[in-house]
């Protein structure tokens, strides 16, 4: 958030004393992201990606190389990955970005607690996920084989994506709190995301065995992707695959709690133990 925006925040707080501080920060950050920032550009780029993917998937479906359910699942899985990655990268920029731009000091001088500031920024970063999910809906509709599957696919995507996005955005803000530079914050966030994402790309046999099964279940990304895969492609019920939602739920709870605790120690300088 720029210094000018910090002044806006202060004036907003003065004019609306009853509004919670985190809500003021969230509102200002959302405006920064969606009216003046990168949000629309990122979503436009994401829609172009989905357009290309959907067109190719539909071509393959016409050649009978892909099942119709697989094409819907493909769009949903890509939306999950990209939406979560965007939430992570935006949140990883929040504190370290302010620190690097020299605007964190002004923000810390407001009457808000560091926790309120962090919570507002976290919520703003998370807004990219519902927008990404909303953009994916027309594509899933265009590829849908039946209304039942379409509804299942969209609901599964929203539930899994929301949980995983909360987990990763919370992780991003934790990293950003400690990182002394934005580059470090983004690099760490991106590396962790890729490391957890890679197993979803492994061929089926490579993730077999008890150790592979445990890893798939513990990793919130692979567990969430597996859940969506089973619900969308294999027509399994939610209760059949509920076990795969444990990791995303736990990850969201643990990461959000850790973010609340850690951001209470938000300081002007980055690093650990200062």
């Amino acid at each position: 958030m720029a210094a000018a925006n910090d002044e806006v925040t202060r004036s907003q707080m003065a004019s609306a004393p009853s509004t919670p501080g985190w809500l003021v920060v969230a509102g200002q950050e959302v405006r920064d992201l969606w009216l003046a920032g990168r949000g629309p550009v990122l979503v436009l780029a994401f829609s172009l990606l989905l357009s290309a993917l959907t067109y190719l998937a539909a071509t393959n479906k016409e050649l009978n190389l892909l099942d119709q359910k697989d094409t819907v699942n493909l769009v949903m899985q890509v939306t999950l990955a990209v939406g979560v990655a965007l939430a992570l990268l935006l949140s990883a920029d929040t504190v370290s970005g302010e620190r690097e731009r020299g605007t964190l000091e002004a923000l810390l001088l407001t009457p808000l607690s560091p926790r309120e500031i962090a919570l507002g920024k976290l919520l703003a970063a998370l807004t990219v996920w519902p927008v990404a999910a909303a953009v994916s809906v027309p594509y899933a509709w265009a590829l849908r084989p039946g209304t039942g599957l379409f509804t299942d696919a969209v609901v599964a995507e929203i539930v899994v994506g929301t949980l995983v996005a909360i987990a990763f955005a919370s992780f991003g803000i934790i990293v950003s709190t400690f990182a002394s530079t934005n580059r470090v914050s983004l690099a760490v966030g991106f590396f962790v995301f890729v490391a957890l994402m890679v197993p979803t790309q492994l061929p089926g046999g490579a993730a077999k065995g008890w150790l592979g099964d445990i890893f798939l279940r513990v990793n919130p990304l692979t567990a969430g992707a597996h859940f969506m895969d089973k619900v969308i492609v294999n027509n399994h019920t939610w209760s059949q695959e509920a076990g795969w939602l444990v990791a995303p739920i736990l990850a969201a709870l643990v990461a959000a709690t850790a973010a609340v605790v850690v951001t209470g120690r938000l300081r002007l300088q980055g690093g650990i133990g200062r």
């Binding site: 436009l44 067109y55 539909a58 071509t59 016409e62 190389l65 265009a142």
Partner: protein, 194 residues
């Protein structure tokens, strides 16, 4: 079963080679339109109801094979396997893409009787492809079996289907980014005026 699946195409290629040598197999397709039959000394013959098919990519077609026991004894349990061979080197064939089910078990066939099977073929890529059915005894009798029997090859000519609007997705594919781009431009203009 997995071992037999692996064996099927290998055996099939060998049998197709035999088919190309006149005299080794009793009958070959008589014309471009008719089906033909293959036979062994055991009296098992395999025939197909088509010999030449023209199709577009993605347009499925079906054909029927008939396994006839012309011998004096009942056959052992059999396995029928559908095979694909590219006739031009540029066409890569992944059998899984070309047919969802390529191997079926056939119960013993009594003398003078026959078993029919309808196969579905999905031409996935442009090119010239030979499609044929190989019949072999089920595993207990495989080692001592006489030469396997294959049907005559069906010559499938596949042309590329070109569609600008596959599955009707083109409007959505164009409209969503266009809508977002217009919304983004409108937002910028509105902010610029302020």
């Amino acid at each position: 079963m997995r071992r037999l699946l692996w064996l099927g195409p290998v055996v099939g290629v060998a049998v197709l080679g035999l088919l190309l040598v006149p005299g080794l197999v009793s009958e070959t397709p008589a014309s471009a339109q008719e089906g033909g039959r293959g036979t062994t000394s055991d009296g098992i013959t395999v025939s197909v109801d088509v010999s030449d098919v023209s199709a577009l990519t993605g347009d499925k077609f079906r054909f029927t094979s008939e396994i006839t026991n012309d011998g004096s004894d009942a056959t052992p349990p059999l396995i029928a396997n559908l095979n694909f061979v590219s006739l031009d080197e540029s066409t890569y064939i992944d059998p899984e893409d070309w047919s969802p089910q390529r191997t079926v078990s056939i119960p013993p066939i009594e003398p003078g009787s026959s078993a029919t099977r309808t196969w579905t073929v999905n031409p996935a890529l442009k090119g010239d492809v030979a499609v044929y059915v190989v019949v072999l005894p089920d595993s207990p009798g495989l080692a001592t079996a006489s030469p396997l029997v294959a049907s005559p090859a069906i010559h499938v000519r596949v042309d590329q289907k070109r569609s600008l609007n596959p599955g009707g997705v083109l409007p959505v594919v164009l409209a969503v980014p266009a809508f977002l781009a217009v919304a983004m431009a409108g937002l910028r203009v509105a902010r610029g005026r302020r």
